[in-house]
Each structure stands twice: as structure tokens, then as C-alpha cells.
Symmetry: C2
Subunit: 350 residues, 2 copies
């Protein structure tokens, strides 16, 4: 097949290009190590709305509209919106899609949503089905906590391995051609092209502890990355940066062990590998236990930090690998283990 390589990897031969992006984050995320890279930092996590769910929708909507504006486009120029979030029935995405009135495809990939949506948008653009597609993902600590764990008002204790769902949203416009008049405020910004994507399989190693998401997802991240290398013939040395997300502190250590088992030791990975879940918060200063998570975590680090670094010429080729734990709120009660998934996307600058 002309646009497939090996077993799981897609090749984008028409070089879909990221023409606009935006990261909107909460107060805590906006005071962490990544604070200088975000477009919008909320003053408070309700964003002026009456509920956290409405606030999350507003964050995603703002990220999408800002990404479109940065691309120098109007929302009427966008052919399709491909987004997802952690909320049941994609509450944030659905209500955002209603407000922006763009043809809408809803995606669910738990915390893997950002690379899932980027690969789908690239398929649409590369295949000539869209001139401009907008993709994105969002999460909110308060909406996720009360849906997946406990009402915040309980004030219940979380085990040290539990991760902190990021209040964050990221969106990107992927286009068939670079825009001639974008609003990206960087001197002579590089163009970022999407060149490959590797679709993940569900990997489930039998882990049943819903407070050990990093451990449940690390095998999926490593499986997708190894398949990506096998399909493309590339090695870690071909990338300037490899970011998984969101394995957190424990999951990242497990991923490093699994890479070593597969013959990719830390010398080969070098400093180029990191995990978004370990980058969003100050580990010592903040009580986020296992690190960051939620599909907004990797979404905001890619669209905020990574894209800016790439546009400035600091990284030329990046592999981004969002990871999701596809457990449901009732599957653990039915004795099920946690299915993990990860999708990889290759970005290259001009």
C-alpha cells in the first residue's frame, strides 16, 4: 500500500503541516516548569463558568479558536474537527463542536487522544479529504477526579502512585499547505510537518491497579515505539527528542527498563527521551504524586513547549507518543485488567 510502512505505520507523503497551535492550562500547570510556553494560563480553574465541565469545554474551545486564528484562518476554513477528552460521552468536545459548528468526528483514546487526533487529522489532510483539519484534546483535574475517582469534596487520600490529571487543553491546525499569513509570533518560524504515524495496539499486561496508570501504559508506549522503529528503519538517534505522555515518574522508569530489555539502553536513548507526565509539574515542590496525566498534559506540552522549540529550530525531528489507559470506571469491578494504548507521530521541521 502506498502510504503504509510495515505493520502499523502510516507515511504522509504530501507533508501535512501544522499551521497553528494553542495550549490553555490551569493555574497549577501555569506555575510549573513549562509556564513560559503556554498561550493562556487560567486565573482560576472555573474559567468564569458555573461548572468545571463547562470550564473544560471553554478551555478546549479557546485552544481551538486560537490555533485557527494563529494559522491565519477562520473557523469556516476548517473542514473537520477531530478531538476528544476524558469525560463520558466526550462532553467537552461535543459542546465545543456545537459552539464552533465545524463538521465533527469524536475520538476516545483516554490520555492517548492528542496523538490519535493528530494522526487522524494528518490522514484527512494527506489523503486530500481536508484542506485544514483541527485536532485537540482536553482534561481537567476537577472533572476527571469526580468522574473517575471521588468527589473532590470527600478530600480523600490518593496513593503515592496516583497521577495528577492536568487541567490543560491543546489544539493544532493541520493543513495541506503552509499558510502564507499566519499569526505565529516567532521570528522566521520553521514549518512543522507531520511525516509518519504509528497506530497503537491495545497492550494489557494484566495490571489491575487503577492507581498505577503509568505501569499499565508503559508497555503500550514501548511496543508502539519499537514497532515504529521496526516499520520505519529509524533508531532513537534519528530523533532529537522523543516524548511519551503521560507515564509519570513510575511509568517512565518502567519504560526505560523495557527499552533496555529491547536493546535500547539509556546510552542509546540519551537525553532525548522524556515523558510529559514528568515535565508539567515541579516534582519536589508540588504534591502531584506519580506525575501529570490526562490527555491535556501531553496536548499542552506538545502544542506549547515542543512546537515552540521546533519552530525556533531547537529540535528538527520529534517523536511524540501519547499513552492511554482504556479502563472504564466499572471494568475493574468486573475483574478486568487495564488495557493500554499509545499512538506515535513523527514531526519534522523544514
Amino acid at each position: 500500500m502506498k502510504n503504509k510502512l510495515g505493520k502499523q505505520t502510516l507515511v504522509f507523503r504530501n507533508k501535512p503541516v501544522i499551521t497553528g497551535e494553542c495550549a490553555v492550562v490551569g493555574t497549577r500547570e501555569g506555575s510549573g516548569p513549562m509556564k513560559e510556553y503556554f498561550d493562556v494560563i487560567l486565573d482560576d480553574d472555573t474559567y468564569g463558568e458555573k461548572t468545571w465541565e463547562k470550564a473544560e469545554s471553554m478551555m478546549l474551545k479557546n485552544a481551538i479558536l486560537t490555533a485557527i486564528r494563529k494559522a491565519g484562518l477562520e473557523k469556516s476554513n476548517i473542514d473537520v474537527m477531530l478531538t476528544g477528552d476524558l469525560l463520558n460521552q466526550l462532553m467537552s468536545s461535543s459542546f465545543t463542536a456545537r459552539d464552533v459548528s465545524i463538521p465533527f468526528i469524536g475520538l476516545y483514546g483516554a490520555c492517548s487522544t492528542m496523538t490519535q487526533s493528530m494522526l487522524m487529522a494528518s490522514v484527512f489532510v494527506d489523503g486530500g479529504f481536508a484542506e485544514h483539519a483541527v485536532c485537540g484534546a482536553s482534561s481537567h483535574y476537577c472533572t476527571a477526579e469526580r468522574q473517575f475517582r471521588m468527589p473532590l469534596e470527600h478530600g480523600n487520600q490518593r496513593p503515592p502512585s496516583a497521577q495528577w490529571t492536568a487541567t490543560a487543553s491543546g489544539a493544532a491546525v493541520i493543513s495541506r499547505q503552509p499558510c502564507t499569513a499566519n499569526n505565529i509570533l516567532i521570528p522566521a518560524p520553521k514549518e512543522i510537518f507531520v511525516t509518519y504515524a504509528t497506530i497503537g495496539k491495545i497492550i494489557d499486561t494484566g495490571m489491575k491497579d487503577a492507581n498505577q496508570m503509568g505501569a499499565a501504559m508503559a508497555p503500550a508506549a514501548v511496543d508502539t515505539i519499537l514497532n515504529h522503529f521496526e516499520d520505519t528503519g529509524m533508531t532513537p538517534a534519528d530523533y532529537d527528542v522523543i516524548l511519551t505522555g503521560d507515564l509519570g515518574y513510575i511509568g517512565k522508569e518502567i519504560a526505560l527498563d523495557l527499552f533496555a530489555d529491547a536493546g535500547i539502553d539509556s546510552a542509546k536513548l540519551g537525553v532525548r527521551y522524556d515523558d510529559c507526565g514528568t515535565m508539567l509539574y515541579y516534582r519536589e515542590k508540588e504534591d502531584v504524586h506519580g506525575g501529570g496525566s490526562g490527555c491535556g498534559c501531553s496536548a499542552s506540552i506538545y502544542t506549547g513547549y515542543l512546537f515552540r522549540k521546533m519552530r525556533a529550530g531547537e529540535f528538527k525531528r520529534a517523536l511524540i507518543v501519547s499513552t492511554g489507559a482504556m479502563l472504564s470506571t466499572i471494568s475493574p469491578f468486573q475483574g478486568e485488567s487495564i488495557p493500554g494504548i499509545a499512538h506515535a507521530v513523527t514531526l519534522e521541521t523544514s
Copy 2:
């Protein structure tokens, strides 16, 4: 753009073809007017599993594996699986994807999932990103009822406008070329090609009654169909059959009114238009109130009834339009109205 027509419609120029399909339905669905068209009818709705959720996963898995077998393929031949269901965190799809180990993209479109997954699979195949893609959707009365309404054990009364979630699952394999040796047991079956798809926008008319899903979704169905006609230049007369799903009895009447308002009166629609939610059960004999719903309803009617009729040469061109209500279980409590969506897919035989 080469593969887009008008504002919302995709054109599949390489003629992706449906090489295998399967419909698995519950006991009640298997004793209705469509009973002769289904591949598998369950003896009881637990399908030998300990929970209804596991039964629903097993139904989707059986539909997918049977569709692959009918295409004369093995699951290792399938490049990507694009499926969804109504359960939180796509429980049925995620656990099915784990068991079949095919690269997986999770979709959420509420009851619009079947046409959403067919259009995405066609984009992959037509764009040269997959040789074979499997798509599908599932729902189960007992899993949906306890997630969206009340535990069944309550035995609570449902208003007459409430629809009955189908216990049903449908899957189809969409391929780049017709398979030379398929297992479709019809004499000289016609090939079914996917030729167009129209991606829906969210349409929300302010309806807030979660027991009036048909009324909430009918405007989205009509909007997508009118856009499809405008984008393609076709009219109802170009189709042998037009099926929406799942508007049910009330929603179908509303859709007919809206069509008439748009200048497409019942004389123009003729007998070619029907709604899957009105086709699955005997209205008089069975107490299904507003008619059938759930993403398995249209999925099983397309893959069971419609595809068989098309393969037998009875219909040459069909427009299928699954409809979804993207409300969440908590959005009505936050004062939100119900966002509707519908995606249309055109099927043509050789």
C-alpha cells in the same frame, strides 16, 4: 481539494469496497421484523458471560471476527480497527481491541457511530493508509439502561417517547480491492462500494428532554442529508433507499416534517425513506415505546438487512445516516440541551 465536494462531503475515488460484514443481535431483536437478516441471534442476552458489559464486548468481537472471516481474511490482514460503543471509556470496543490485537482507533459518536466508523475506514482505505480496515459499533439494552437511565432492577417506568436501546452489534470490513475468495453465501453477490460520505456538524435546537432523543437528533439528520444533496448535486430520486437511524417513531415524523419544510415532500421521498429505529421491532406487538435506538440498531440493520439486499441486487444505491445524541449523563443537570449529530455514507453496487 481533490477528494472533497462542497462543504462537508468526501469523495472516495478509489472505490473502497465492503468485503465482509456481520450482524449479531439479542433475543428480542432476533424475533422482530428483521430476524431473517441477522448472522447471529443470541439465546440469552448475557451470551454466556458473567456481566452484560462482557456480553456486549463478546458480541462486537464476534461481529468483527465473522466479518473478517466472510471477507476471506485473517485478523492479521486488517490494518486498523475503527469502532465505538455507548459505554463510558468505550468499554466494549477497548476490550474487543485487546482481544483481537489489531491497531485500534476508538470513536465516540453516540448512536451515529456506525456511519462515523464507516466513513473513517473509507478515508483510511481510499487514501492508501490501509488495505483492509474493520469498522463497527455495538450497544446493549442492559448496559445502556444502567449507565444512562436506571439500574434495571429498579423496574422504573419509561415515558412513551423513550427509545429502546438495541442489543445489537454490526461490523464491516472495508478494503481497497474486492476479495477474490470471500465467504459471503449469496449466489453471485454484488460488490458494495463506498462512494461518498458527509461529515455532520453538531445541531442543537435547544431540546432538553433526554427521553426525546429522536426529536433531538432529527434536525441533525435532516441537516446532514440536505448538505449531502447540496454538496453532491444529488436528489432523493438518485437513491433507491435512504435510511436514518435511530430516530424512532417520533423522530421520523419530525424528520419528514423538516424535509417537507425544505421542499422535499413525502411524494419526493416516496417509499425509499425509512428509519432504522422503526424497523427493528414490531411496533404493535412489542413495548419498545419510541422505537429502537443505540448504535447497534443502525449497525445491525445496515450490515444485516441492507447489505444483503444490496448484494442480492435489490437496491443499487443507498444513503445511510446514523444519528447520535451527544448529551452526557451529567450535562442535563447542568442545564444543557442535547447536541445532535449525523454522518451520511453513500453505498453503490457494481
